[in-house]
């Protein structure tokens, strides 16, 4: 019971006490000597695991670069897609390097930097289903990862078509699993991931089914909304990655096909 009262008392005290001005998150990271990054690890080539179940990928390297710039050790915390912002808000991680699309709805809760990568969306399907382009998804069983940029767009279109179905899964791996097992017939994913998955050949019979007519999906680093100091640092870091050519080097290392995507939108600042 002492424990129970302890928790209650702690909660009550925290609620009641006027907290002293907190040290800035940027200071905290430097002082603690560790940078904890949220990374999605079922999303190759951005994040995955090698044969020893150690994290690898573009986002993992990006986190390591950031830690090096800050002069601290990097710690990769695996977070499935729907868990990225909860992990950030609940203080489990300091920064999200997790291909997070910068939607206005999310910006109400989390703070976004300038884009550090940009995705194009393609249809991923299985051969023999007759899906050649986005329009032939009409009436099919589709699915994607709950709450992601592409899931929101696809679900909206499925609703508008009024036929077919949409399922939201909690991890990207579950979507590929469902697709390869035939639980769903198609999904929409980023072109980089689709290319990596088809090339890997782990899932038999998966193939690309043409581009999805969505806007370019700009993804940004995320930090707590009120940590302006940290967000400012992250913005400069993203800028420096491009300026120093590190962005291109990472792109060539992990994706390799064609040019690294342009991270600016013509005709507007930022």
């Amino acid at each position: 019971m002492a424990k129970g009262f302890g928790i209650l008392a702690a909660a009550a005290l925290t609620l009641a006490a006027v907290l002293p001005a907190q040290a800035d998150k940027l200071d905290d990271i430097i002082a603690s000597g560790t940078l904890r990054c949220a990374v999605v690890l079922d999303f190759p080539p951005m994040g995955s695991r090698d044969a020893n179940n150690e994290p690898i990928g573009f986002d993992v390297d990006y986190c390591n670069d950031l830690a090096k710039a800050l002069g601290v050790k990097a710690e990769v915390v695996e977070t499935p897609f729907p868990d990225r912002i909860p992990a950030l808000v609940s203080g489990r991680v300091d920064v999200g390097v997790a291909s997070t699309s910068d939607t206005l709805e999310r910006a109400k809760t989390a703070g976004f930097t300038i884009p550090y990568f940009a995705f194009k969306m393609v249809v991923l399907t299985k051969d023999g289903l007759g899906i050649k382009d986005y329009d032939s998804l009409k009436g099919k069983k589709t699915g994607s990862v709950s709450g992601t940029f592409e899931a929101l767009a696809l679900e909206k279109d499925v609703k508008a078509w009024g036929t077919g179905s949409f399922r939201g899964y909690q991890t990207q791996a579950d979507v590929f699993l469902a697709l390869s097992q035939g639980q769903i017939e198609a999904t929409v994913v980023t072109s980089t991931v689709a290319a990596a998955i088809v090339k890997e050949g782990k899932y038999k019979g998966l193939m690309m089914g043409g581009d999805a007519p969505y806007d370019i999906d700009y993804v940004a680093l995320i930090a707590l909304r009120n940590e302006q100091g940290l967000l400012n640092y992250l913005n400069l870091f993203v800028n420096q990655q491009v300026r120093t050519g590190r962005y291109k080097a990472l792109y060539d290392k992990w994706i390799g096909l064609g040019e690294a995507p342009d991270l600016t939108v013509p005709g507007v600042y930022r």
Partner: protein
């Protein structure tokens, strides 16, 4: 405290969440009906004279009772899926919970059967009742009284277990709807606290109606 609650959007989601609660209740009820049917078969099978029925019944019961419900549901969806058996999310969740319910209820029924002394059956038979008649008129009413509360508990359990459907892509039950709102806005506390209240009311609804039913059924 650095957090400002956004309750308004959560309350706006309330009607859709209540529809979700209806789906939750539907799955729970279906899984109980099916669970009871399978549990009776299992209880009969466990005391069968054929070894194969006994083995099947015992493995079902032990597997259901010794692995997590979450595991059972995940297996029903992705495990069976890799054998080419495609269950819809709704069906996979229903199958998982039914499997679990049946395992636990089979034990309950066995206990209930054992609690009615054999001497009563013999007495009933010597009064001229047939075997089925003796079971229906003597054993069943007493057994039902014994298993009624465990049944109610299992029903509450079934409601709580439906929350796991979100893992296999179910998005129209209470947890599924809540999670859809959550991933869109990441106001986790507000949406899930509201869901918690609805689950509590659902569970209370079940226990209170069971109590009323028991009061009508079991008074002398």
């Amino acid at each position: 405290m650095n957090y400002t609650f956004h309750w308004l959007p959560a309350f706006r989601a309330l009607p859709e969440m209540l529809w979700g609660a209806l789906v939750t209740l539907e799955i729970a009820v279906l899984s109980m009906v099916l669970g009871v049917l399978f549990a009776v078969l299992l209880a009969v099978g466990a005391s069968s004279q054929y070894r194969i029925f006994r083995a099947a019944a015992v493995s079902w019961v032990e597997l259901a009772r010794n692995t997590p419900a979450l595991f059972q549901i995940y297996m029903a969806y992705f495990g069976l899926g890799s054998l080419g058996i495609h269950l819809d999310s709704f069906v996979a969740l229903l199958a998982g919970i039914t499997f679990n319910n049946a395992g636990y209820l089979a034990e309950t029924f066995r206990g209930g059967l054992r609690a009615v002394p054999q001497t009563q059956v013999r007495a009933a038979r010597s009064l001229g009742m047939g075997q089925i008649q003796a079971f229906r008129l003597v054993v069943m009413p007493q057994m039902f009284r014994i298993v009624f509360y465990p049944l109610t508990n299992q029903m509450v359990w079934a409601i709580l277990m439906t929350s796991l459907g979100v893992i296999v892509g179910l998005n129209n039950d209470l947890t599924g709807v809540t999670q859809e709102y959550n991933v869109r806005s990441f106001r986790t506390f507000e949406y899930f606290a509201l869901a918690a209240v609805i689950y509590y009311l659902l569970a209370k609804f079940v226990t209170v109606s069971a109590r009323l039913m028991a009061w009508r059924l079991f008074r002398y």
